[in-house]
């Protein structure tokens, strides 16, 4: 708390990069560990398989990055992903054409996101609560549509599941990888190169200030959740390419992996700061951990959840530390800043006078 001074200020941008630098180091350490422990771990195909196995998570992380930078949090992504696989499988069983199925799934996901966004902005429901409701709602719809697993036997989906695209050197990836990379590219373009992208950061840094500056806060908040819903639906389609089935329990707890990936990638949970490619780094860290667990073979699958939770915790703690330092540096001693975090759960001082009685 005593680091206020020109020196401390100059170090600020470095601190912003601290989180993802740590993640990159972690990724390298994980790979070195894998190389020592398991012969054949560091090979081109294993690295490519990280992308193949986590294509859906990359897409989820892109949507979640938008939401988190805007100062929100989307708890519904796992449920929307599950709902998408169930809708896709159910419609394909009813002999819909794959193109129509994909369009319907994407529309449903975007519509759910739209509802969440409208609820948050126009009804001022807390973002967490709104997405939590959406999470339960989508999961319930899964059970309503089909409590049992539906196998997908559509030729197009089968083709997407089995197709292997050569990338040279005798290595192959599934078609999901280019789809995921396209989403990343689109996400980077929108977030870092468009006006809308800048408004997402502005909203995350302080909704009221942004709105006073004339930033279209309402449109931005709603769009951010639409993007997240769309990404979750697309991830659901990629997931059904991957598993060739629709099941109502698909993706339970996936919101944790997604949020963990985003946070590991250096996006600050309170919003307003972060990079999209950092989230991809986060996905790769989680993917490598899972690959190590698979390579080991003796560890139960539950370890991947525990480790994802632990990593999320560690990186959240790192962020708190950095934020606290930064606040001390900028001379502010108030625990509340006019940011979205404050808006969401700490400040809202006016509410004290809002109760009746």
């Amino acid at each position: 708390m005593s680091g206020a001074g020109p020196n401390g200020l100059r170090r600020l941008p470095k601190r912003r990069h601290l989180s993802w630098t740590v993640s990159l180091g972690l990724l390298i350490v994980l790979f070195i560990f894998g190389a020592i422990r398991f012969p054949g771990f560091v090979s081109g195909q294993v690295v490519l398989d990280l992308f193949v196995d986590n294509a859906y998570l990359i897409v989820l992380a892109v949507g979640m990055t938008f939401v988190v930078i805007s100062g929100g949090l989307d708890l519904s992504v796992g449920s929307v992903l599950g709902l998408s696989t169930v809708i896709a499988a159910a419609l394909l069983r009813a002999h819909w054409s794959p193109g129509a199925v994909i369009i319907v799934v994407l529309l449903v996901g975007s519509a759910l996101g739209l509802l969440v966004g409208l609820g948050i902005h126009y009804l001022s429901i807390q973002p967490f609560v709104a997405t939590l409701i959406s999470m339960f709602f989508a999961r319930g719809l899964c059970y309503v549509l089909s409590p049992d697993s539906i196998a997908i036997s559509d030729p197009f989906f089968l083709g997407m599941a089995q197709a292997q695209l050569p990338v040279g050197f005798g290595l192959e990836v599934s078609p999901s990888v280019p789809v995921a990379l396209l989403v990343v590219l689109a996400g980077v373009l929108v977030l870092h190169w468009t006006m809308f992208g800048r408004t997402v950061y502005a909203v995350g840094n302080g909704g009221r200030a942004a709105s006073l500056m004339g930033v279209p806060v309402a449109r931005t908040v709603v769009l951010v959740y639409v993007i997240s819903g769309f990404c979750a639906a697309l991830a659901g389609i990629l997931f059904s390419f991957y598993t060739l089935s629709g099941y109502s329990l698909t993706g339970v707890g996936l919101e944790l992996d997604t949020i963990a990936a985003v946070v590991i990638g250096g996006t600050v949970l309170s919003g307003g700061s972060g990079y999209l490619w950092g989230s991809i780094l986060g996905v790769l860290v989680l993917g490598t951990v899972n690959a190590l667990i698979t390579f080991d073979g003796t560890l139960g699958t539950w370890w991947s959840k525990i480790i994802a939770g632990a990593l999320l915790l560690v990186f959240v703690l790192v962020q708190r530390l950095v934020l606290r330092r930064r606040r001390a540096d900028s001379g502010g001693s108030k625990p509340e800043e006019p940011g979205a975090r404050a808006r969401a759960w700490a400040s809202d001082v006016g509410r004290g006078g809002l109760r009746d009685g």
Binding site: L75, Q126, W302, G309, P335, D356
Partner: protein, 340 residues
Amino acid sequence: MKNLLAARLTWPVVALAALLLLNFVLQPNFFSIRVQDGHLYGSLIDIVRNGAPTVLVALGMTLVIATRGLDLSVGSIVAIAGAVACSILASSGSEANVPVVIVAVAAALAAALVLGAWNGFLVAVVGIPPIVATLILMTAGRGLALLITQGQIVTVSSAAYRVIGAGFALGLPVSILIAAVIYAAAALLTRKTALGMLIDAVGVNPIASRIAGVPVKGINWSVYAFSGLCAGVAGLMISSNVTAADSNSAGLWIELDAILAVVIGGTPVGGGRFSLSGTLVGAFIIQTLTATAYTAGIAPGVMLVLKAIVVAAVCVMQAPRVRSRAQRRVPSRPRAGVRS
């Protein structure tokens, strides 16, 4: 003040009465309670007994929500408590032994209390948003429960352990008595001491409370610990009732039921002014709804959708107030008066 309190409870009670009446129409013997071997049996007793875990979890959740928090990890703590107790019993070799059961129960409750305190630590001391802090335990906690049971469903056959969830005492199911005792203790502590007012204060305005000398951190910490403990007791009831620990499905979606009970009971989602009696009515509404759906043959999935819609509806009903008051304080009063 009394009118207001009455108004807040009126609608939940009316809804509960309507549900009970509907059940009476569906099954004319719904209200009949018969005595068999000195134990009370009947649909109503079943609803209260099956509702005991929900009541407990909702009780903890009420206090957490009252401080502007949210505890998503209750379902996982339910699973962990069951897993701890059943693993100890199964590995002891003498599970019929009462001291062994007591040790197992104590260990499970201690684990639940520690996990609740852990949530409280993250929220109150470290300052992580409640949703994120408890989300970590919500998902990683299921992993922990699976780790404890090694991914298996651990079954036990201890008669002494079965008492918690399926036994009878004084003619009533033991789980009802346990829930009643904990509920009464919480009600006494919050309403007969200043604790309830302090919790309200933290929820209404944490900053003002801190400045006024309310131990905000301590209160935050203890409500999460209490919520964890309640979830632990609920977990013991659930696993004892089925004489097994199922780490995957024990307590799954119970956080939704709990949040729903709190919200129906009139505690605002945004914190402050909690109502324990409202939560109790809310929990019984949910349990009756579940029982009704069961008799009417409605799929559980439909219930999940319905519950989500109800929470959304209540949130929306609360929203215009928040908005109109946020814009200007003066005209909000008459409007709120009209509403309630």
